[in-house]
Amino acid sequence: MTPETILDAETKTLWLDMFRKLVRIRHFERSAFELYTAGKLPGFMHISIGQEATAVGACSALRPDDYMTSTHRGHGDTIAKGVSVEGAMAELFGRVTGVCRAKGGSMHIADFSQNVLGANGIVAAGAPIAVGAGLSAKKRGTDQVVLCFFGDGALASGPIHESMNCAALWKLPVIFLRQNNQYAESTPRTDYQGIPDVVEWAKGYGISAVRVDGNDVLAVYRAVKEAAARARRGEGPSFIESETYRWYGHNIGDPGTWRPKEEIQAWKAKDPIPRFRKVILENGAATDADLDAIEAEEEARLQAAIEAAEAAPKPKPGTALEDVYVDPDLGAQAIQGVRP
């Protein structure tokens, strides 16, 4: 990380906003983990603690009208792009106030008001959708870009290749960002990847490709910012390999303790949050007290969100039949069954 010495007001604001989002996600994920473990949240849940700098650095480099697709491990990504903790938390609780009205849950958080096109339960499924959003931006003549998050394990699957080829061919404003947290469920790189160096491989598509320290929020920010600028200039897609780590297991239920202790410890030592705090302080962008205040604000907001979510009503069972189709009559005709 190159220390920035003279900080303008804009940078300060940006940094504090990024710090706030890092903290927001960390708190959210910690609480989600605890609430789930306490039996309060249903479904499957994949926690991204340790990876926050990648989510926040990347999304902070976007404009609000840019698009984003995420994965099954999408809490951090979607919050970084603008999903409210209130809406997300209520969704995890399965309440009517959930951002997806309790239909989606942890793996399917989407918020079209924030151009979050969706987390996704299916590995690599976001990539073709991102290509389509990029195509659409280009066709509509906007300079919106699309950020496509996917995991290290996802790279082995067909849609990533198809999507990178199409995006390169059509010079689409898509940023393929691989969140390399070192494992696909239980599977390490040695078991899922023949490709020796994904950055070199990605260059094979004729696109810009770089590797960044995914625990350095500023490094991720810069890489995405550059990729977005290229995309807006019509120079097509980019690939970013962001090296990071998930502290927890693959999902809640997996303690993740099958990984070497030293490895986990080494990565915890690279915790992106204290690291960025140090940069902020060293550069005089804020004081410890400022940052503590942000943390406290976020924690308070989150606790309020949790309380609100818990207090919110559960959906009525019959509402399960809503939201399938736009057309009310044809939809009703299509949904009706014969169950007595």
Binding site: K103, G118, I129
Partner: protein
Amino acid sequence: MTTREIMYREAIRDAQREEMLRDPTVFLIGEDLRDPWGGTYKATQNLSTEFGNERVLNTPICEETIIGASLGAALTGLRPVAELMYFDFVMRSMDAVVNQVAKVRYMSGGQVKVPLVIRTQGGGGRSSAAQHGNSLEAWICHVPGLFVAMPSTPYDAKGLLKTAIRMDDPVFFIEHKLLYMTKGPVPDEEYTIPFGVADVKRKGDDVTIVATSRMVLFALEAAAELEKEGISAEVIDPRTLVPLDEATILESVHKTNRLVVVNEGVERCGWAAEVAALVQKKGFGDLDAPIERVCTRNVPLPFQPDLENYVLPSVADIVRAAKYTLGKVE
């Protein structure tokens, strides 16, 4: 109303053309759509010449990404009409069609609409063997979140496709390779056909035949043969499989008390089973005989024409099934 005789594939082409003229957000995407090729079954001929290569986007061979990208475009303000060159190739895009296109509205709690048409063509009879002649509509109808159209005539094809392109829900639109060259009258004036409304292609009193796509033509031939034997068959084309116009079918069975369901999909767990299950439930008291299914046999499609004909439903099979319901076959 003045009409012209046009081919089914022209009806499909014209529907796309008119909707592209009407709405600048409509665009076509798929493999080999561009002129002079103009689509492998020529259903997009001249469109890239008229509208340019941007609005008729020729893609690489990557069905999962074609459909996924169409979804991405549909979610962000456009109205894609995607072509899967063969119904069989939907297998390369099944996740995109089913887990993404059909479900994103639901999973997001109704936040978005998905104005997306996926066109494809299925069916055997061209000796194209096991991987190029399947009729997989049962799979698609099994997926909540999609509407499914399957027209048998140029008139229905054009009117339904125009409706589909204007709809805000995803539509899976199934054509038939052996219908493209068939002709029929189509009005000069603009028209659309609503989903969920069956068309009685022939009135009759003794037995109801529900048939889809090319099988409607077979059913009409069968009805003509049956007539010679004094049997009056009613032929119903549901035109859209989802939603299904149950009322028209049930009314007919109420009158005839007999039902034959003809569908080119493989019999086991095919679409005809759904219709049979529905009608035995809702029209139980009306049935004087078991509902017969005439479908493709439970084997892959063979290459050789005699074998293929043996496996696909035939006019004779429909005639026999109808007579069977009337107790006129031992």
